[in-house]
């Protein structure tokens, strides 16, 4: 069953990536799938429509739940990152305050690999930020603020 949900997520991600203009080969590599499967998905042939329905429901959950469930299903950070980034509905503008001490807990917490340290301060890549806010809650100095934004403008 979990495998079916993963294929549902893969299906949705593959369709979205195709819409974004990626080639089948690139999609297959990014999601760790066969090219033929990607081709099937893109041509509307899928295993089970129930799985896709569940995947769709998952992608509408709050970002933290969506992320944690996806990671638990795939057990793979690379795949998780791609699926979440492709399927997330909102954009986020992460802000790191000067009170950041550069402890790196956010780096270790972020499943999206969106955080790195620069001059003892966290730097969050808004392209990868999924808005789960786990870094925000883990931050010992309350230095992170994740804001939901309408469009990508100004990022």
């Amino acid at each position: 069953m979990p495998k079916h949900i993963v294929s549902g997520l893969n299906y949705l991600a593959a369709i979205n990536l195709r819409k974004e203009g990626y080639l089948q080969k690139e999609i297959a590599e990014a999601l760790g799938m066969d090219r033929s499967t990607v081709s099937h998905y893109i041509n509307g042939r899928n295993i089970s429509w129930d799985s896709i329905e569940i995947a769709e429901v998952l992608s509408k959950l709050c970002p933290e739940d969506f992320l944690k469930i996806t990671y638990t299903l795939t057990k793979d950070t690379t795949k998780t990152r791609i699926i979440i980034k492709t399927l997330k509905d909102f954009n986020f503008r992460p802000k790191v305050k000067d009170s950041c001490i550069g402890c790196g807990l956010c780096v270790d917490t972020c499943l999206m690999g969106a955080v790195e340290l620069n001059n003892l301060k966290a730097q969050i890549d808004s392209n990868w930020c999924c808005g789960c806010r786990m870094c925000e809650s883990r931050c010992p100095t309350n230095s992170i603020e994740i804001l939901e934004v309408e469009e990508t403008e100004g990022l």
Partner: protein
């Protein structure tokens, strides 16, 4: 969720977190001077300074600090603030003292070994045993010149020369007289490596059997080679805490010491009850009680010589009567681009509002983050 792993061995503590990078903190109890700067700078209140008074007096056998691994976020501030490198902090195996982004306390000891005459004053004065002076003296015989001769026929083996010789250079081979050998000594030997040609033997000899000439007197010292003392001055920088005792006591200005902190040490003599705990804890031998003038007389209040102070604050922490204030006014540290780190470093400086509370600096930094 990535959690910290804590390990304790003897009184040493290590905490690590392995995820995107491997961060590891190692506390070495032996090196710790109990100043409490780590407790003060920790942004998450994870460090607690132990009861230093009881520890330095040997009443309690415990680690000087405790680190709560559930609170520690492995930021490295304690390591940067520690003036004696008792807390090592590495990221992926590299010490943060070698990572440019992290500030580093500026402290050093630079000995100009070529000026050293191996007097050994620094070795004796260093409160941390960080300096060793080893010396090799020239042979005494090379610093004197002369001649000595015993007329063994005239010698009556009285042994007065042996008793008087200040250099222990004369030796009588004693003998119990028998009918076959009715002598009280079989020989008199002069050790020319020891003799300094002082002439005392000649003057004491009742029989004028000894002839001594010291050539240095009539002819000057041209025949004597210059005394050369060889030696080695070894400074263990890991043990050195930059107190400056060597710099002050050295007659040859061999040492140059850079101290990590600047400040003022203020003692309220009226408040001091003379418990001496501050003297026990001070790593720099800054504090002392003067010798009492006569027995039964209570020595006057505690004395200080601030020349040796590194303003670590250990004495202030242990003083039960708040008689000591360490006003740290400057921190010599390399620059950092991080505002939070700048603020943390500044929190080590004395300010009136946090006077009397050692942990309020960290608490303040935290509340500002919110």
């Amino acid at each position: 969720m990535v959690a910290n792993e804590k390990a304790t061995e003897n009184k040493n503590i290590s905490i690590k977190r392995e995820a995107a990078e491997k961060r590891e903190l190692c506390f070495e109890d032996e090196a710790c001077i109990g100043c409490g700067i780590c407790e003060q700078i920790c942004p998450v209140d994870a460090i607690e300074l132990g009861p230093m008074g009881a520890i330095v007096r040997g009443e309690l056998d415990a680690s000087k600090i405790n680190i709560d691994e559930s609170k520690c976020v492995l930021c490295g501030m304690c390591s940067v603030g520690c003036p004696v490198e008792a807390i090592d902090f590495t990221i992926d195996g590299k010490p943060i003292s070698e990572i440019e982004e992290y500030p580093r306390l500026i402290r050093s000891i630079s000995p100009e070994a070529e000026n050293c005459v191996y007097c050994g004053a620094c070795d004796i004065a260093c409160p941390q045993g960080a300096i060793r002076v080893m010396r090799e003296l020239p042979e005494r015989a090379k610093l004197v010149t002369g001649e000595i001769e015993v007329d063994k026929d005239a010698c009556i083996s009285c042994g007065m020369c042996e008793d008087m010789c200040p250099a222990d250079a004369i030796y009588l081979e004693e003998n119990i007289p028998t009918s076959s050998n009715p002598e009280i000594a079989t020989d008199i030997v002069i050790d020319k490596d020891k003799c300094v040609y002082c002439g005392i033997c000649k003057r004491i000899c009742p029989e004028d059997a000894i002839k001594v000439i010291c050539k240095a007197c009539p002819y000057g010292e041209y025949e004597i080679e210059e005394a050369e003392v060889k030696g080695d001055l070894v400074v263990d920088e890991d043990l050195c805490i930059n107190c400056g005792w060597c710099q002050e006591i050295c007659p040859k200005d061999v040492f140059e010491v850079e101290k990590p902190f600047e400040g003022e040490l203020i003692i309220n003599e009226d408040a001091c009850q003379g418990c001496e705990t501050c003297i026990d804890v001070c790593p720099c031998n800054v504090l002392s009680f003067p010798e009492s003038s006569e027995s039964g007389q209570i020595a006057s209040k505690i004395q200080k010589d601030e020349k040796y102070c590194i303003y670590c604050g250990a004495c202030q922490n242990v003083c039960a009567t708040n008689a000591i204030t360490v006003k740290r006014t400057g921190v010599n540290i390399t620059p950092t681009k991080s505002k939070a780190w700048k603020k943390a470093v500044d929190s080590l400086k004395f300010s009136d509002e946090k006077a009397g509370s050692s942990s309020s600096g960290a608490a303040k930094a935290k509340s500002e983050g919110k």
